[in-house]
Amino acid sequence: MTAPRPGDAAVVAALAERLAAADATTLANLGWFAARRGATSAALDATRRAVALPSAPRSAWHNLERLAAGRTDRLLLALSAHDSALAAGPSAQHPLAAAVASHAEGALAVAEACYLAAITSGEDEVAAWNGLAVLHEERGERAAADAAWARVAAWESAAVVHDCALAWHRRGETARARGFLKASLPRFPGSAVLLQLAGYLAHIDGASAAAVPLLTASLAADGTLARAHFTLGLAHERLGAHTLAVEATRRGLQCSPWFVPEVWLLDNGRGGDPIEIPPERSAGTAEATDEVLLALGRSLLETTRLGEALVVFDQVLVRQPSHTAALFHRGVVLAKLRRYADALADWERVGSTDSEGMLGAMSRRHAHSARELAALFAVA
């Protein structure tokens, strides 16, 4: 993409003013021109206005998706309205697809405009309202979110039920979310995503025993749902069923290296599975994955698969070198392997970084024993 040239902004602004009332094709191409001239904000504005008009060309949606993601390369010029209609065909105008793509990229303002355009056009109205409700939830606009949820509550959509329940949970109303899911599940028998969410909420609500059959049912419906495997592993681990925990977590790791426990499900109107958007993006994903790996390591430790446990704790420590729980448990594994000096090093680090916590106190006790054992074995 070319860098802005002197006077570009003035040229773009003047042309935008002149073409303010132009048709969708002209506005879309004005957006292309503005982006090429480095006037990204003007490009976004012109393209948004293009897609809000009837018979917006396909290129406008394509460009909006890219501009919303901060990309100004590979933008398209729109053909004349006649050619565009030929090119696009009846299914090519997808405000909902652009909305979901923008939403996934975190361009919420663009996504909102596109959702509203989808609602106005009557295309996949339920999915558009669902997306809009999620968007308001993410922004913390509860009243607007409630209004959107109210519009879709009566619709038979597993994604809507899922997102609505997740919204209650994220507002801190987990019991309400569980109740809503329980009441809704009979309407969607065999919905893997609803069963998984119900199991996940049960587990984090302290009812791991209730979570296990829900998660097992979810996996019976869809054996590739990684977050169901991971959640099942966590539930088993909490229940002390370490062999089952290891098995479930390993299956999860075969499906995905990351545990993303909570996702919004957004239908983009193009068929296929809904698009999954994690509310926390990458940071939350890493945290949840570490939690799963720690649980896996603990289960491996309990079932005396020490070598594998060591690898799992190492994996967490590669990402977070001072993760106290991982350091503590690796110390336990190392001590069991009679590598007392290494264990001592891990525990001393925990003791120094978590001096006030429980792990710190335990580490100091273990470190004392390890020192004695290390001395004993050193003499031997």
Partner: protein, 307 residues
């Protein structure tokens, strides 16, 4: 049927094939022997041309014109056939327009059955089109200072207040290329569109008060040529040295500088200028080397006569 293009031109070859309603493949090699072209002729009409109008070239052309991208969702094959084939015909016409002027190279026609192809060009219509484009070019050249006029944007006030206007993708690409520095000929080259088409659009955008034309800078080569013809070699050399200092890639200026230096009797400087010409314009390397050798011969002859 085969032969050299300096004895029978491509226009004549195509017209012969059309009159005879012949079918087969015509391989044409132009001044650059490494890039031959192949035309498929069916009953005298051109139905395919490679590589310029191949599917690959067509896809690349659509992407270069921002009408498609490599992304399959908006890839070239998602465009309607009418748009794709219109560009293919334009690419073929442009390539054939150039080929019809070739006077070096050869042609080889192999008779045989040829199926229908994506093109349907009549050689007679093509020749007429080329002549028409030439006439248009002459008229536009006169209006646009032989395409040396430099388009730039109209002042913001004028841009803002003028009436709304309909612009097609080529207009937008042209506006994107306008930088207030390059002239019409350079813009056409940058856009890979024909000179007459781009010049025509520049005139339309000027009429729509979007563009205006800056006065073309003086043509140094014309002034230098006049100075050489008048025997003012030092004046010509001074003009041309200033030109190559500003635009080192101007091969023609290097060539003329060599001529001016020879005129002034400075053969060693002429050799330097022509060596630079060869570097700046590899297409004329052979010619540059011949002139350099001639100048070296002169230098040696002078040295011998002095001795």
């Amino acid at each position: 049927m085969h032969g050299p293009l300096n004895e029978i031109s491509l226009v004549e070859v195509l017209q012969l094939l059309q009159r005879g309603g012949r079918s087969g493949t015509l391989r044409v090699t132009g001044p650059d022997p490494t890039t031959p072209r192949t035309l498929w002729i069916r009953e005298g009409r051109i139905v395919a041309l490679e590589p310029e109008a191949s599917d690959l070239a067509l896809d690349a052309g659509l992407i270069a014109r921002s009408l498609a991208t490599e992304d399959p969702e908006v890839g070239p094959d998602r465009l309607p056939a009418v748009v794709r084939e219109a560009l293919r015909t334009r690419l073929a016409s442009a390539a054939l327009g150039t080929m019809l002027h070739w006077s070096r190279g050869r042609f080889d026609f192999a008779e045989g059955a040829v199926e229908d192809g994506p093109l349907d060009l009549s050689p007679d219509a093509l020749v007429f089109e080329v002549v028409e484009a030439e006439m248009r070019r002459v008229d536009l050249g006169a209006e646009l200072d032989e395409f040396r006029a430099v388009p730039c944007f109209a002042p913001s006030e004028q841009l803002r207040r003028s009436h709304p206007v309909g612009l097609d993708p080529l207009d937008w690409r042209l506006l994107d290329t306008v930088d207030g520095v390059r002239n019409v000929a350079s813009l056409a080259a940058a856009l890979d569109e024909s000179l007459d088409t781009v010049a025509d659009r520049v005139r339309s955008l000027q009429a729509a008060a979007i563009l205006q034309l800056a006065v073309a800078p003086p043509d140094v080569s014309l002034e230098a040529r006049a100075a050489i013809e008048a025997g003012k070699y030092d004046d010509a050399a001074a003009l041309l040295r200033a030109r190559v200092a500003a635009v080192p890639g101007d091969g023609d200026a290097w060539r003329m500088l060599g001529l001016a230096e020879v005129g002034a009797g400075r053969f060693d400087r002429a050799i330097g200028a022509w060596e630079s010409w060869r570097a700046a314009d590899p297409a004329h390397a052979e010619e540059a080397v011949s002139l350099t050798r001639a100048a070296q011969t002169m230098v040696e002859a002078l040295r011998e006569s002095r001795d």
